[in-house]
Amino acid sequence: MAAPGLPYRERVHACIHPETFKYFVERGRVAAIWRALVGRYGAVRDRGAFRMMEIDGEHFWIRAVIGGNPITVIRKRSCDAAAIDELHRLLGYDQGDEGR
């Protein structure tokens, strides 16, 4: 059962891609979500000095501070609606009437 209001996302300004968002997910699901992300998009790299973890996937960079929440998703130009739909399924995010 998802916590009320979660997951939700906030737009990140002035980024590589105008459709960049931070996804805030339920605390109890963070570890499972990252396992799913690693299984789908590849290993996590650790950027030690900044306490940052990152997956460099085919269609996006997935980043978070150590702990894993919120999750910042920076889209690459190759990213399309299908890639976003798949990511949202892994995050458990329902964008409803929002644009992709």
Partner: protein, 399 residues
């Protein structure tokens, strides 16, 4: 002659960071880290100015600077394949993208990714003609460095206009590149003493973290960090481009306009770049926990910029929300222009003048970038290039 393995080539491009001067050196050249916002905007400023051929100016400047830079990265007994490999690697390592030079003998080069394409599309919108002027110059420069022959390079297809890759045609002829004469300027920066610091912001920790970051192109030759695309560009490129732009505009009676345009580019760049940095995961992980108030953001951003190779600048005075005085002890604009053109009769640091205003607008103004633009004014009161002991920038809120 000998062929060199990629590991050896990368070793030659290892960053050498001078903690005393905050200078970043790659293969013998001081490099400055700017992001796609600034690089694309500077290109648009120079190329869109009426009455001058800004495109030719940008291409010639890139050709000159990278002909010299590649020579510095090569060794005398490198064979030809090694030289071409280094030309492609230098381009990728600095963050400009990935070039395929395998068909250079047939007069064709392919760009598989491009800092300038990504920068233009994400920062300035769609484009109906090729955008990689910088890369045209880069290729001209490295061909001249390797073969000794002048060539002219034209981009005939560009990812920015919908092509799957950028395609460059290389034709014999054109102007040979020659390094600009320069006179060494023996300058000893004064000690960084008496400046304001925040008790909460560990500036050295920020600088150390940024310096330890691997700011070099990955497989695609791009550097996506701090929520922006970064690139390591020789200070010579920015300085020569600014000088030539101002001189070309001055010849048409528009020197003040040229300087204003370059200051504006720095001002808008600062807001975009630093907003990207402040919304990045890197900021969230290391810097955000140090921030107690708006002034702390200013101190942290100055520390980040000091690690980017811009020089060594500090806050002399600050009234939150109202005014700021910054001093740069060895800025690349002042030192570079002094070496290239001698002493100036007035301050010349356009980029830092604009950035100083942009920092205050980002932190203390509200609204969109366009709404914040112009809400603070910045003046360079003294400049190393015109005889000052430091470059000093005074920023005030516009009433």
């Amino acid at each position: 002659m000998h062929s060199v393995d990629p590991v050896e080539l990368r070793r030659r491009l290892a960053l050498r960071y001078n903690a005393a001067t905050f200078r970043r050196v790659i293969a013998g050249k001081d490099v400055i880290i700017h992001c796609h916002h600034y690089n694309s905007r500077i290109q648009r400023t120079v190329e869109s100015a009426a009455e001058i051929d800004g495109h030719a100016l940008l291409v010639a400047t890139a050709a000159e600077v990278f002909s010299e830079h590649l020579r510095l990265a090569l060794e005398d007994d490198d064979d030809l394949p090694t030289r071409w490999a280094m030309a492609a690697l230098l381009y990728a390592h600095l963050g400009y993208g990935r070039l395929d030079l395998d068909r250079i003998d047939e007069g064709e080069v392919t760009g598989l990714s491009s800092h300038f394409v990504e920068g233009w599309l994400s920062g300035l919108g769609s484009r109906d003609r090729p955008v990689c002027s910088f890369t045209e110059g880069y290729i001209q420069g490295v061909v001249h460095a390797i073969t000794g022959e002048p060539v002219t390079v034209r981009e005939v297809e560009c990812i920015a206009t919908g092509a799957t890759c950028c395609r460059f045609v290389v034709e014999p002829g054109g102007e040979a590149t020659r390094p600009s004469p320069r006179a060494p300027f023996p300058f000893t920066p004064r000690p960084a003493e008496g400046y304001l610091h925040s008790a909460d912001v560990d500036e050295q920790a920020i600088i150390d973290a940024v310096v330890r970051m691997p700011i070099a192109g990955g497989d695609d030759g791009l550097i996506p960090a701090f929520s922006v695309y970064l690139a390591n560009t020789p200070a010579d490129f920015y300085n020569l481009l600014s000088i030539r732009f101002i001189e070309a505009m001055a010849a048409r009676g528009r020197e003040r306009t040229a300087r204003r345009l370059l200051i504006d580019a720095g001002e808008i760049c600062a807001m975009n770049t630093f907003r990207g940095i402040m919304s990045s995961v890197e900021w969230e992980g290391l810097i955000a926990p140090m921030i107690r108030g708006d002034a702390d953001k200013l101190h942290a951003l100055i520390a980040v910029s000091n690690a980017l190779g811009w020089g060594n600048w500090h806050i002399r005075d600050h009234t939150p929300g109202l005014s700021l005085t910054l001093e740069s002890l060895n800025g690349y604009e002042a030192i570079g222009l002094r070496e290239l053109r001698g002493a100036a009769d007035a301050p010349i640091c356009c980029m830092l003048t604009g950035v100083a205003a942009g920092l205050m607008e980002l932190i203390y103004s509200e609204g969109t970038i366009e709404e914040r633009f112009g809400t603070f004014s910045s003046i360079e009161n003294t400049c190393i290039c015109s005889g000052g002991a430091a470059c000093q920038f005074a920023v005030e809120r516009v009433e």
